[in-house]
């Protein structure tokens, strides 16, 4: 099973209503968003989504005129307590892996947090994390959370 997670990245033009249009498309297609983050610059934004149906989300967004791409990210499950994120950071930075961005959500049970990482070298990162006994959540499992 591939450990990588596919994130949907959507280009958002900097004008009122763009994000709302994207969320409407997803709603109409009955797509559930697991988690998301928005990267913003002065001139544009990028919506990053983890959804239950990657292919469908990709298709409906493209069909509605959005610029979409799939980006490989890594999901790591950590206990929801102080130091959870830090332990991961320590492990990857020791190996010289850079984090481009990160966002997270807490599982329904409230015991664990899932952190989504965009690494410059996802393969190596997965390797390092697994060797250090972190719980890397495979894409398939995450989509169905």
């Amino acid at each position: 099973m591939t450990m990588k997670v596919e994130q949907i990245s959507v280009f958002l033009e900097n004008k009122p209503g763009t994000l709302q249009q994207a969320t409407r498309v997803l709603k109409d297609a009955n797509i559930n968003i697991r988690t998301l983050s928005v990267a913003e610059t002065a001139n544009f934004g990028i919506l990053r989504l983890i959804v239950n149906d990657v292919e469908k989300a990709n298709t409906v967004l493209k069909d509605s005129g959005f610029q979409v791409s799939k980006t490989p990210v890594v999901a790591v499950e950590v206990p929801d307590r102080p130091g959870g994120l830090h332990s991961v950071m320590e492990a990857v930075s020791k190996e010289g892996i850079n984090v481009e961005y990160v966002y997270a959500f807490v599982e329904k049970s409230g015991e664990n947090a899932v952190i989504i990482f965009r690494f410059d070298n996802p393969e190596k990162a997965i390797d390092v994390l697994m060797k250090n006994d972190f719980t890397v959540v495979p894409g398939k499992k995450l989509y169905e959370f």
Partner: protein, 432 residues
């Protein structure tokens, strides 16, 4: 006041006779030295000796900007490079730019013409001239500079930019005249106000403003805020640079075209037909004295009209009204001439970009502002979808625009298919 009273006030019959003699000479010269002219005159079945009257000029084919580009860089020069002492050029990347050469005598002629302009503005060797036209490949800075030295005035070679420094120099050095674009003059006024500097206390008396279209209302505004007389100067690098025409301070209404050096015609930009003097049309220039690259019937793209009524200043040379329009899609951004096709060239050079863009020109305060909207193509986004990559593209566009065209746009990436391919490439919201 005149710099060259004899020639500036030459009776019109004598002026016409001089024009014809010089036209016949320049025709011979270009026919025998520039392949482009030989080919185009032969194609039109005209020999230089066929030019018997000034009226025969209209039989000759036009020279267009495309001809200049096709002959980039030196194809239209009529002297060897050993006789060229200076090269100027328009903005643009290779192929989009045009190059202008000057012999030693051309520099002399040009300086004399600018000297005429400065004297027509009432300036003498006792004046201090703050020259804020850009120095460099653009003809404005050096053109005004040489003219100012010609009349033995004291010239401050400020060039453009650094508004705060400009304001302190205007305050401390006591210049009596300023040369720049009209919008830059207003920008300096605003900058001074922001710095708490009272520009009415400046010693400025006259502004010699040009290189971009400006309205009567804008002139009034400049005259009011600076308490100066604002005069219009006209020129185009293809023809020689600034100093093709100048408004005299006496009439303060219309620019005298120095007809002993240039023949001006107005044509219907659609049909190319010559219009009666006084009718609005595209100005066409023929250079009579330029050695390095003489132009025969060059279509300037500037729309104006000629004013043939005698002027109270005593100059016999015909006047032209202010330029407010272009016959083509050329844009003047802060004094820099830009064609939309040049922007397209820059965009297609950037990997993965489609030349799907819209340029929005507006005013930010007194200055021109540019927003360049570019569509995010599949190629760019599907590879990365990352902020970093998109920002790199943005920066690259800004840098290339600045490097090649000399203007700095704000780049806005927009979604796919938001700019219609057939729609307006340019939206100009500036008042003129």
């Amino acid at each position: 006041m005149f710099y060259n009273e004899e020639f500036e006030t030459l009776p019109r019959e004598a002026l016409k006779a001089l024009q014809l003699k010089r036209l016949q000479q320049v025709m011979q010269r270009v026919y025998h030295t520039v392949g482009f002219y030989k080919k185009s005159f032969d194609a039109a079945k005209i020999k230089p000796s066929d030019i018997k009257t000034l009226g025969d000029l209209k039989k000759l084919p036009f020279v267009t900007r495309n001809d200049m580009r096709d002959n980039y860089p030196y194809g239209l020069f009529s002297v060897p490079m050993s006789s060229i002492v200076r090269l100027h050029a328009s903005s643009g990347s290779s192929g989009g730019s045009t190059v202008f050469g000057y012999t030693k005598r051309d520099i002399e002629t040009w300086s004399d013409l600018v000297a005429r302009c400065l004297v027509a503005a009432g300036l003498t060797k006792n004046d201090i001239i703050h020259n804020a036209f850009s120095y460099g490949l653009f003809t404005g800075g050096l053109g005004l500079h040489y003219g100012a030295e010609k009349i033995d005035a004291s010239v401050i070679p400020m060039s453009g930019g650094n508004a705060k420094r400009q304001v302190s120099i205007l305050k401390d050095f006591g210049p009596t005249a300023i040369c720049c674009t009209p919008s830059y003059a207003l920008h300096l006024a605003q900058e001074a106000a922001a710095m708490g500097v009272d520009i009415k206390a400046f010693t400025l008396r006259v502004g010699i403003l040009g290189a971009e279209p400006w309205s009567r209302a804008m002139r009034e505004e400049i005259e009011k805020v600076f308490e100066i007389t604002a005069l219009d100067i006209y020129g185009l690098s293809e023809v020689i640079g600034p100093g093709v025409a100048m408004e005299c301070i006496e009439a303060h209404n219309g620019m005298h075209i120095f007809e002993d050096h240039f023949i001006v015609e107005t044509i219907d930009p659609q049909t190319g037909e010559v219009l009666a003097e006084g009718e609005e049309g595209e100005l066409v220039f023929t250079t009579l004295t330029k050695e390095a690259n003489p132009l025969i019937r060059y279509r300037s793209g500037d729309i104006s009209r000629l004013i043939k009524e005698p002027c109270r200043c005593g100059r016999s040379h015909i006047k032209m009204d202010r330029v407010l329009k272009r016959s083509d899609d050329m844009l003047v951004i802060s004094g820099t001439n830009i064609f939309p096709s040049q922007i397209e060239t820059i965009l297609v050079e950037i990997k993965g970009l489609e030349p799907c863009y819209q340029l929005i020109v507006d005013k930010a305060g007194a200055l021109d502002s540019l927003e360049l909207q570019v569509e995010v193509s599949d190629k760019i986004f599907s590879d990365s979808g990352s902020v970093k990559e998109l920002q790199k593209i943005e920066q690259r566009i800004v840098k290339d625009m600045l490097d090649y065209l000399g203007v700095e746009p704000r780049v806005k990436l927009v979604g796919p298919n938001t700019l219609s391919k057939a729609g307006d490439k340019v939206i100009d919201k500036r008042r003129t």
